[in-house]
Symmetry: D2
Subunit: 370 residues, 4 copies
Amino acid sequence: MAGNSIGKAFVVTCFGESHGKCIGVVIEGCPPGLPLSEQDIQIELDKRKPATSSISTQRIEEDKAEILSGVFNGYTTGAPICIVVWNKNIDSEPYELVKEKPRPGHADYTAHLRYDGFNDYRGGGRFSGRITVAYVMAGAVAKKLLKTLNVEILAHTVQIGSIKVSKKISYEEIRNNVYKNDVRCADLHMAALMVEEILKVKRDGDSLGGIVECIALNYPAGIGDPIFDSLDADIAKIMFDIPGVKGVEIGAGFTAASMKGSENNDAYIIKGGAVLTETNNCGGILGGLSNGMPIKARIALKPTPSIRKKQKTINLKHMQETELTLSGKFDPCIVSRAVPVVEACMATVLADHALRLGKIPQTKAYCDKL
Amino acid sequence: MAGNSIGKAFVVTCFGESHGKCIGVVIEGCPPGLPLSEQDIQIELDKRKPATSSISTQRIEEDKAEILSGVFNGYTTGAPICIVVWNKNIDSEPYELVKEKPRPGHADYTAHLRYDGFNDYRGGGRFSGRITVAYVMAGAVAKKLLKTLNVEILAHTVQIGSIKVSKKISYEEIRNNVYKNDVRCADLHMAALMVEEILKVKRDGDSLGGIVECIALNYPAGIGDPIFDSLDADIAKIMFDIPGVKGVEIGAGFTAASMKGSENNDAYIIKGGAVLTETNNCGGILGGLSNGMPIKARIALKPTPSIRKKQKTINLKHMQETELTLSGKFDPCIVSRAVPVVEACMATVLADHALRLGKIPQTKAYCDKL
Amino acid sequence: MAGNSIGKAFVVTCFGESHGKCIGVVIEGCPPGLPLSEQDIQIELDKRKPATSSISTQRIEEDKAEILSGVFNGYTTGAPICIVVWNKNIDSEPYELVKEKPRPGHADYTAHLRYDGFNDYRGGGRFSGRITVAYVMAGAVAKKLLKTLNVEILAHTVQIGSIKVSKKISYEEIRNNVYKNDVRCADLHMAALMVEEILKVKRDGDSLGGIVECIALNYPAGIGDPIFDSLDADIAKIMFDIPGVKGVEIGAGFTAASMKGSENNDAYIIKGGAVLTETNNCGGILGGLSNGMPIKARIALKPTPSIRKKQKTINLKHMQETELTLSGKFDPCIVSRAVPVVEACMATVLADHALRLGKIPQTKAYCDKL
Amino acid sequence: MAGNSIGKAFVVTCFGESHGKCIGVVIEGCPPGLPLSEQDIQIELDKRKPATSSISTQRIEEDKAEILSGVFNGYTTGAPICIVVWNKNIDSEPYELVKEKPRPGHADYTAHLRYDGFNDYRGGGRFSGRITVAYVMAGAVAKKLLKTLNVEILAHTVQIGSIKVSKKISYEEIRNNVYKNDVRCADLHMAALMVEEILKVKRDGDSLGGIVECIALNYPAGIGDPIFDSLDADIAKIMFDIPGVKGVEIGAGFTAASMKGSENNDAYIIKGGAVLTETNNCGGILGGLSNGMPIKARIALKPTPSIRKKQKTINLKHMQETELTLSGKFDPCIVSRAVPVVEACMATVLADHALRLGKIPQTKAYCDKL
C-alpha cells in the first residue's frame, strides 16, 4: 500500500531521500495552459532555504528546481509534471551512529521497525524535514493555479518557544514582514525576541518548537467534499504530514471548546452585496465547506528532536540502554522554515478541491487573469 | 468527485440523511471469518444514544442496526458489509425555517451553495451529527478486528465549557466510569460539575463545547504509511470529519510548541524486554508510525450551533439581514455523544493501517484469539 | 483491500449477495439537481428481467428498486445515492451440494480459496450474475446524466452460439427491435434462429455463450484520462467485471491485427463543419480519448457454466475426484440478459469520464435539456 | 483528475514525454528488502529495444535506466522507487507538420482537443509508444517481486498481419526462441515468414498489426479482488493502456462465445495432490480470481498508424480537408516491441494483487528464495 500520494484531482506524489540523489515530486491533474517555469518553483523553494543567519543549520542547500516533464513551451500540457531538486552538500557520516542508536523524538526507531531495517537512515532518509522540498514544489504549482481564482495564501510564525505574538496582525503586516526576518514573524518586535530565544537554547545545545498560522484569502464559498473529504479534514491531514507537526486547529480551534454557542457562532451579515460573517470563529469552514471568509489554520510544531545535549536511548543491536550525544548541523528551531511549507500544503489542498468541483476548469480560459 | 469514503484497506462508505429513510454504511476490506452479529454493532450504537437525562435532546432514536450483506452464518464473508439504521421519530417541520434562514455555525448556508439549493436541509440532512451513526457502525467492525491484535480504545470527556479534568486519569478509571455518567467523563467529581454547567447554559438557551481524549492501547509498533498516509495525519483527518471538531492534537500537541527538545523528546528505555519510552509526548507516533506506546489524541469540539437564543442571520431568498429564533430539540452539548464516535473513528484508522501492512491477515487464523 | 468500487468522479460501490437480503449500490459523485425517481431505475431493471419465455430461468425476480438516500423532492441532492433491490423467491437448498463440489466454470472453488471457506456460496453469493442488478441501477443514473449531453447507448446481441448476425445493422433497428425479442437481437430473422439454438441446447442440458455489441452515440470528442485511465481501458475493465465475459474489443478489435495501416487508419474528413472520420475502425477512441465518432465495443460471453449435463469435478472435503449433476433453475444462455448490463457498464464509464473533465458540471444548469 | 497511476498496493505512476527530458516512473508499495539494481531494470529495457534489423525504426535509443530513489545498499527501502531513462537522439523537426495536420490513427487530434492545444506533440508526446519504457521499468520490479513466488511470465508473438502461429507452442519454445528472432515469435518457421511480411509492407510504405499471447505460470490460486478489481478486469485494463491495443481476451476468449457449456467448462481433477483443471478455457481465472492454472491472455495490436503512404486528413488551423505524407523513422510493425511491454503489464497487475492479499509480505523473509 502506498502513502506517497495525496489529492484526488490535483494529485501529488513524492519521492526521494535526504541523502539520496534527489527530492522529487510528480504532480498530476494540473490543467493544460498554465504558464509555468522553473523560476516559479524556485521563488517558493528559496523561501524554504535556511536563513543566512546564526540561527540556522550550516548545510548549504542550493536546491535548484528542474522540471523534467509536463511543461512545453512555457505552459503546462496536462501531462504529469515531474520536478526534482538534486541533493548536494551531503555528509552522511554522522548518521552511521543513529543506525544502531535511534534518536529520541525522531523516526529512526519506528522506521527501522516499519521497513525491517532496510530504510535509508542517512540524514533521516525519507523522514527528514528535507522531503518538504517536494511539498513546496507542488505548492508552487498549486499557488499559481489558485492565482487564477485570486486566492492568496499567507503564513507566519505566531509562537516560538514561550515567545508568542499577542497583538492582532494585519494581512498587510504578514505580506510585508514575514520574509524580512529570520523567524518569519509578522510582528518585528516579537521576531527579535524569538531570535534571541533561539540563540539562547542553541547555546545550550537544545531546541525550540512553535506555532505557524496560515490564512487563505478569497477562496470561493461552497467548496469541499463532505463527509470524509471535508476541507478542514484535508487541511489537517496534509499539515500533519509535515514532519514535527503535533496539532492543528481551524478558526477558534481549541478555544472554541470553552466558548458558548452564542459566542462561537458567526452571525451572517450582508456587506456590499456579499454574504459575510461578523466574526470568523469557524475559520472559513462550516460543515467541511468553505464559506467565503478567510480560511484560518494554526499548526503546532514540536521542538527539533536533534539536539546536542546528551540523551538516553537504546542500542538496537545489543538491545540495551545507552546514551547518545549528537554532533552535526542541526537547526535549533525549524518553525521558520516550516512557514513556506505550511503555505504550500494549504495551497495544495485548496487547489485540489477547487479542481474537483471544476472551479478551475480544464481549458486555458482559466488563466486569462494571470 | 466523491468524499463519502475513507480508508484504503478497510474502506468505509457512508450514505443517508438525518431525515431520510436511513443512515447506512458499506464496509469493504474486512477479512473473512470474523464473527460478527448485529449485537456487536448495537453495543456501540447504544453508547452513542442520548443520555436519558435532562441534558440531552428529546428525539428518541431507536437506532437498531440491521446488517444487509457481507455476513453469513455469523461470520464475515470478505464481501462488503452493509449496515443500516432506519430513521424513525422524524419531525422535519421546524426545518422549513432554516431553508431560507441559515443557522449561524451550521452548514445550512455552505451546503446550499455547494449543492446549488438541492441539498436535503431537513434535520441538517447530510450535515447532521446523526451521520455519525454510520461512523459508529464502521467503528464497531473495526474494533472487533482490532481485538484480534488485543488493541483497546478508550475515549473520555476531559473538558466541557470551562470545566476541565485536571487530575491524572488512569485507564482503569476510564474503563469504569465513562459510561456511568451522562457526560462520559472518567473523573466523576468533574462529571457532576459538567452536568451542572450544561444545565445552566441550557436554561439560557445556549450551548457548550468541550474536549475529548482518545487513547489506543497495545497497537503494535511500526505501523503507518508515511509520507502522506502518516498515522497521525489519518487520525487527524477522520476526527475533523466529525461535525463540530475544530482542533486535533497528538501527544503533547500544542503544548509541545513551548517545550524544549530536551523536555519533549521521549527517551527510549527497555522494560521487560520491550522497547518503551519514559514519557509519551509523541502520543505513540513518530514519523507517522506507531512506536508501541499508547496512541493519544485530543479532539476539540465547538459548542452546538443550534441554540434557542435569538441570532443574527440573513434571508437567502430576499438577500437581507434578519433574525432567527430556533425552536426544536437541541442538545445543549454534544461532547458526551461524540465520545463513542471518536472511539469509532480511531478504531477505523487503526484497523485500516493494520490491514494495509498485513498485521491482520486475510485468513481466519487471525481471529483465533477472539 | 477493496474491489467493490469503480470510478473516480462517478463512484459506484456495490454490495449484496444472490441469496442475501438485497443487492445494493451506492453512487457517489452524481451532481445535485438531476431529476431522479425509482421509476427511472425500474425501467432499466425491467430490461434485465428474464424473458417471459421458454428460454429463460424460472426464478421470478420482482426486482423493485428502492432509493434509500441521495434523492429529495425528486432531485438528486449531491449526497450518495443508495438504491437496493430486496431479494425474494430464494431457494438456497440446491447450493448445499456445491459447497463441497465446486461447479466447473464457476467461482465456487476460487471463492472458497480466496475467502477461506467463509464466502456465501448460496446462489453463487457474491459471484452470481445477480449482482449485475447493482450495475444496472448505477447505469440507470449514469444514463440519465448522459442524456444531458445527448448521449445514447445501444447494445444488442450479435452472436449466440454459432448463430451470428452478419448483415449491417442500423441504429434504428437496434432501437426498434432489441427489446422486442427474447434474445435482444436487432436482426429479427437471426433472433428466431438464436431462440431455436437455445431451445436445442436446453433440451440437451447444455448452454450457449455469445457476443454483445455496444455503441455510444454523441459522446463528445476529447474525453478520457490517459495513460492509465484511457477510455478504452476503463471500458474494458468494467466489461470484464460482468460475470462470464472473456473478451473485449474496441472498434475493429482483433480484426485490426490482420489489417494494414492504410486500411485500418480512419481518414479525417469535415462534414457539416464537424470533424469526422470516413471509417470507424478505432471505435471512437484514439490514444484513450474519444474522437467524437460512435464508441463501439464488442463483448464475448462464455456459455453459462451451470448445465444439467453430468460433469467431472472434485470433492473439496475429501479431496478426491467425483461427478456433479446439477438440478435447479439455470438460464441456458445469459447473453440476452447481459445486454442491458453492458449498456449500464458503458454508461457508468462514460458518465464518470465526462464528470472528471467537468463536461457535466456541478450546477443544475446541466440538466436544462432534460 | 489524474490517469497516470495504476495499482492499489503496487502503485505505478508514469511521467515524461517522447521528446521531453526523460521517461520516468515512480513505484510505490514495493516492500523493503528486495535486492534491486539498475541492471535488473536494464535487462528488461533491453528486450524492448528495436531489433537491430531491417524491420525496425532507426531511432537509436540508448535507454539506460537510472534509479533515483527507493534503493539503498542494493535493496529496496520501502520508499517510492523512481527510475528514469534520459531521452537522447531526438529529432522533433518532422512533428511540426502534425501539429496542424493530425495523423490518422494517432492521438494527434484527440490530444489536441483534450489538452486544448497545449499537449507536447513532438514525437507523439505523452501518446508515443515510447512511454512504455515506463511500463517496462515498473514491470521489471514487479517481475522480481513475483520471482519470490516463483511466478514466471512468458509473452510471444502469435500473429503478425495474416501470418498466424497455428501449431501448439510449448513453454520451453517460448523461453528459448522468443528473444532469438526479430519478431519475438516462438515458432521460428513462422517468425521468418513474419519478417518477410513486414519487409513487404515496409517497401509499400505501409504497416502491420498482430497478436501477442501472454502466460503467467505458478501464480497462486485464490488471488483477485472481485467485483470491480477482478484479476481479468485489471489485466484487460492495463493491456488496453498499451498504445495500439484494440482487443484483449482471457483463456478461450471470443472463441468461448461459440462453445457449449459442456465444452467450455474446465473439469476439476486432482494430480499430485493439487487441484488442476483438465482444460484451461478460463485462462486461469474464474470469478475474477486465479485458480492456479496458467493465466492466459491474448492482446490484439492494430497496425502502426504512422505510414509513409499518402493519407487523407484535415488541417486543424484552416479546418479543411487535406493530405498528409509522412517522412521519418517509423516501425512498420511494433508487435515485437510490444512483447516485453505485455509481459511487464501482466507482472505489474499480478504483483499488485499478490501484495494486496499479503501473499508477498512486508518483511524481508519474502525474498529468501531469490
